[in-house]
Symmetry: C2
Subunit: 122 residues, 2 copies
DNA sequence: GCTAGGTGCATCGGTAAGCGATGTATAGTT
DNA sequence: AACTATACATCGCTTACCGATGCACCTAGC
């Protein structure tokens, strides 16, 4: 059996395809932690992530994710039609959300420690 | 429109379903960093992760992942039929793999900083 | 010699989810 | 009038997790 080396895939392309996979799980943590601090709405969350991480947050990812969070009772929602801008759907963290955020956070810490241990003596 | 709160999903269940998603991206980084240090084989990698992270690494996840890495030229493989044990498929990091690992690592660092900034003033 | 458990590899298929493309609507700018 | 930014949302193609399952070998205990 012969395994063909795939040279069409540059390292940059591989990285580009890996990024969303990596983003996947931690994105939810990021959003929950963000909402722990202040209520926010979709577009602002995306802007926030773009600025603080210089990472894209496609709308096709964000809005379904927020709906799932709402479905699972992690956030409460409220439409804000006041003001001059477009109507905003504000998200507020719930108790369940806070609880889950803290569990995710400790999981993050565990991975963080393991990663650091690996890069230490390379 | 009414959004039904899904109480069947306990926070523990939500966390359990989230974990593999979170594991998803960083797992590849972990394996590449591990292979940067020494060549290894599937079963050993799984054991290693289980010990250092107390995290499960299902075989249905691991072996397809390793095949993808091989396909993309991130690792070189070599069967070891010597010794008393079962034949082992050893994985060695390639230059492409090393390059990608370093890119992933800096991405990890960026997320790490952002996360830390969020949990600081909660 | 038989059986159970550990080692070591692998695939299949049901399910979940990313996200590019696309759509709608309003406000402000050129 | 045209374009950009704000703000929401869905569709469907594709990727990938992982529980279940299977094969093969080795060692230990009865």
């Amino acid at each position: 059996m012969q395994m063909v080396m795939n040279d069409e895939n540059s390292v940059e392309q591989l990285f580009a395809r890996w990024q969303p996979q990596a983003r996947k799980g931690w994105l939810e943590t990021f959003i929950l932690l963000l909402l722990c601090q202040k209520r926010s709405y979709g577009y602002e969350i995306a802007t926030n992530l773009r600025q603080s991480l210089d990472a894209e947050l496609p709308e096709g990812t964000l809005y379904p994710l927020l709906r799932r969070m709402q479905r699972d009772g992690l956030v409460d929602t409220e439409w804000d039609t006041e003001g001059s801008s477009n109507p905003r759907k504000y998200y507020t963290i719930s108790n369940r959300g806070r609880e889950l955020a803290s569990m995710m956070q400790s999981e993050w810490t565990r991975w963080s420690q393991t990663m650091r241990a690996l890069e230490k003596d390379q």
